[in-house]
Every structure is written in structure tokens, then in C-alpha cells.
């Protein structure tokens, strides 16, 4: 019997190595897998490359992972969410590397990785500082940049409901990067507010089919707060 539900955080984090590329779902704090991030902190992996839309808020979750010096590099589109104190301190001190990626290019690089596409052309960022060092090509009269796929060793994501096959649903705009990252990593761990019986999820509503999910941890925490 397939059962991806793991009973503890220790099992959810098992095998995550130092130096991993870790994809973290969420847009701001919505859809961000805070329990799993705390689990990663306890687990202790370091020298990580983190891929996340934002660079942490206040001193909790991702910001705490950064503050503890576990992250070597962050790849994100918007490090300046309200109150990114930890990131800014580390960045100014030269203690973390930053790769800024336009948000759509970030999403598409992840999607490309999930679909076996090694690179793609996009018009986004042509003529800007973010085009530096990138191959350009003119196709049908418009200039494009070559962007490479971005795969994760691990994805930590937040779902709303999950079953033992790892099928997932999401809640409203908490979907955001989660399904894209789930499909782009070798090991995908989901925290879910609700665990339901196999067959209880409407197949029409499953946004991430279980093929992309390796482990599910039940984390019923209630409602998120906007930060």
C-alpha cells in the first residue's frame, strides 16, 4: 500500500543534505510551509541554496533559517517584502549571495525543470541589468534572453488537503508557487492542513497529483497571517 503520510517531522526531513537546492513555496507568508522550514532548521542542513519568491519576513521561518547561517545563496524575485531585516543584514555583510530573477522567469525556470526543458527564450528583462551575461537571440523580429531551467533537490510546500498518495489541493491564492515547485524537485515534502482518505478528493480539484509528492506531513495550524 502506498502511504506518503509521514508521522513526524524527523521523517519528513530525513536525508536532506548540506548543499541542497531547496525550493520554498509561498508568496509572502501565504502558502509558505513554515512548519517544514522550522523542521529544516531542526534538521540542521546547511550551505543551502534557497529558491523562494521572497527573502523572509521578521525573524521567523525563512528569516530564521537565514539568521542561523544555513543559507549560502538565495534565488528570489522580491527580497524586499515588509521587514526583511535578517536578509538585509546578511546581504550587506556579504554573508549571502543573491540572485534576483523576474518573478515570471523564476516560475517558468521551475516549470521548465519539471517538464524536462533545459532552457527557454523569454522577452522578460531584455535590455535590463538582469540580462547581463545571458545569451540573446532574435526570433521573428523580437529579442529574447535564454534562461535555464531551475531544479530543486528538495521542495518544501504547503497544501490544504492531502491523501496518502500525495494528491494535493490548495486554498485560494495559497496555491501560488507550490504546485510548480512540487513538480520541480527530486524530493517534495508537503505540509497539509487536512489529511483525507484516498478517494475523498474530487479528482477535478486535485491541483498537484501525487506523482510529484514524496512525503506529506499533517500540520493543522489554522489561519495564516499576512506579513
Amino acid at each position: 500500500m502506498i502511504d506518503k503520510i509521514v508521522p513526524s517531522m524527523v521523517e519528513a526531513m530525513a536525508g536532506i543534505r548540506d548543499g541542497s537546492v531547496v525550493l520554498l513555496g509561498g508568496f509572502g507568508s501565504i502558502g509558505q510551509p513554515n512548519a517544514l522550514i522550522n523542521g529544516l532548521i531542526e534538521h540542521g542542513a546547511k550551505e543551502l541554496t534557497v529558491v523562494s519568491n521572497n527573502a523572509g519576513v521578521g525573524r521567523i521561518g525563512l528569516a530564521r533559517l537565514l539568521a542561523l547561517g544555513r543559507v549560502r545563496k538565495i534565488i528570489c524575485s522580491f527580497p524586499r517584502t515588509a521587514d526583511p531585516v535578517v536578509f538585509e543584514e546578511l546581504y550587506r555583510a556579504g554573508k549571502i549571495e543573491l540572485e534576483i530573477v523576474p518573478q515570471g522567469t523564476l516560475a517558468e525556470r521551475l516549470r521548465a525543470a519539471s517538464a524536462g526543458i533545459p532552457a527557454f527564450f523569454t522577452a522578460t528583462a531584455v535590455g535590463t541589468n538582469l540580462a547581463a551575461g545571458k545569451e540573446q537571440r532574435e526570433i521573428a523580429g523580437r529579442t529574447y534572453l535564454l534562461e535555464e531551467a531551475l531544479a530543486g533537490d528538495v521542495a518544501l510546500i504547503e497544501a490544504w488537503e492531502a491523501d496518502r498518495w500525495g494528491n494535493l489541493t490548495y486554498r485560494s491564492s495559497a496555491r501560488n508557487f507550490n504546485p510548480v515547485m512540487a513538480a520541480a524537485a527530486k524530493l517534495t515534502v508537503a505540509q497539509a492542513q487536512h489529511i483525507v482518505d484516498l478517494g475523498a478528493l474530487d479528482p477535478e480539484k486535485i491541483a498537484t497529483p501525487g506523482i510529484y509528492v514524496n512525503r506529506v506531513l499533517h500540520v493543522p495550524y489554522g489561519e495564516p497571517t499576512v506579513t
Binding site: 508568496f27 517584502t81 550587506r92 543573491l98 523576474p102 522577452a123 541589468n129 485560494s172 496555491r175 499576512v226
Partner: protein
């Protein structure tokens, strides 16, 4: 001396309302964070304009009543919003495919500078910025069918934001079609900025005086509206 003393500039709210007037029913529109988000407040509900938010919301509605908040539903500015009847959710790759694939009729962005060739600078004010935050600005600017800019005509220190060439880091090349400022509405044309409309009490000479780039007079393309 303030050359604009005789003119009555629009407030931020009036600027948003002025822009909103020009959005026709049926358009799919993305509003950038900051001032553009207020444009939605000025589109009457009976005019069906469908607002997109980059974090995967199509058919975004206004802010909820305090007792009706869905804590999983926010906009690009990370404020609580609602979903209109007929609205839908999608993941980030689909949300940006919609942007980058040219499916949006319009994107409204704020800006630091717009150049007479339509270049826009709206994400960073210096090449030496410690950690610039681009978000979805470059995707929206390059991907929407039309980009309109909503911004003050001048900086706080009185420099023109409408320039010959942008001096701040660029967001996209040659994409801006129209600009709504606190004192004028202008089109970006092959011949540069063309004035469509001016604030009450303002005349073309004064508008030119506070604008770095050369302007084409409203008389040269059909008169003021």
C-alpha cells in the same frame, strides 16, 4: 517660483479615477503594486473589467469587509482581497504564462521614469542598489499588450519623470503607450510624448517647462479632450 501655482493638480485618488475611466468593459487588466492598485476602486462593478493579480488570482475584487476576510486570498501587494463571481485561481507558472504570453489587455504600472521612446524604469533607483526587488515588473512590462503608467509628473525635488532617456535601471524597452500624471495625460508616440489632456488651469507652455522631454501640443493631434 512654482510655475504650476495656477494649476490644480489631480490628487492620487483623482489620478486613479481618471485612468479608470479609460478602461473599457471586457478588458483583462493587471494593476501593479502601489498607486495602480487603487484604479480598481474606480471601475464601477457594472462595467465588467477583470483584474488579474500575479499571485494567481483572475477576477480579483475589492478589499473584504473586516468580518469577511479569507486569509488565503491576497493581492500582489499582500493585502486581503476578494474574488468576484466568475473568478478563478491558478498557480504561478500559469499566472505568469498569462502575463508573458500577451493575454492581458492592459497592465498599469507605477514608475520612476518613462522615456519618450516608451522605455520604463520602475524597479530600482540605482545600479548600486544593495538588493533590488524586481518582482513581476519586468514580466508585466514586457508581456502585457499595453502598458499604461500612473505616476506623479515630477519627483519630490521637482525633476521631470518624463525624460528623453531613463537614467535609472530599466524595467523594459519601448513598452509604455500612455502616461497618466497628476497634471496631464500623454501618449507615447513614434514622435515622442503627445499631450492628450491637461489639468485645469494648466497650459501647454507651462507643462513643457516642467517636462524634460519635448512634448507635442494637443493642437497637433486633434485638440484637447
Amino acid at each position: 517660483m512654482n510655475v504650476l501655482a495656477a494649476c490644480k493638480p489631480l490628487t492620487r485618488n483623482e489620478m486613479a479615477a481618471r485612468l479608470a475611466r479609460d478602461i473599457p468593459e471586457g478588458w483583462f487588466v493587471n494593476l501593479g503594486i502601489g498607486a495602480p492598485l487603487h484604479v480598481a476602486d474606480h471601475v464601477p462593478a457594472e462595467r465588467e473589467v477583470i483584474f488579474h493579480s500575479e499571485n494567481g488570482v483572475l477576477g480579483m475584487g475589492p478589499a473584504p469587509e473586516p468580518d469577511q476576510i479569507n486569509r488565503w486570498l491576497i493581492n500582489a501587494g499582500k493585502q486581503y482581497v476578494t474574488l468576484r463571481t466568475g473568478g478563478s485561481y491558478m498557480h504561478h507558472a500559469d499566472s505568469f504564462a498569462l502575463i508573458r504570453g500577451g493575454h492581458l489587455d492592459l497592465c498599469v504600472l507605477g514608475a520612476f521614469q518613462v522615456a519618450e521612446n516608451g522605455d520604463i524604469a520602475n524597479w530600482s533607483t540605482s545600479d548600486n542598489d544593495s538588493a533590488p526587488a524586481v518582482g513581476g515588473a519586468m514580466d508585466l512590462a514586457a508581456g502585457a499588450r499595453q502598458v499604461w503608467v500612473l505616476m506623479e509628473h515630477q519627483t519630490k525635488s521637482g525633476e521631470s519623470r518624463l525624460v528623453r532617456r531613463c537614467t535609472y535601471p530599466l524595467t523594459a524597452l519601448g513598452v509604455v503607450k500612455r502616461i497618466y500624471t497628476n497634471i496631464a495625460v500623454l501618449d507615447v508616440t513614434e514622435q515622442g510624448f503627445a499631450v492628450r489632456e491637461m489639468a485645469p488651469g494648466l497650459n501647454f507652455e507651462v507643462l513643457q517647462k516642467v517636462t524634460d522631454a519635448p512634448l507635442r501640443s494637443p493642437m497637433s493631434h486633434g485638440g484637447p479632450k
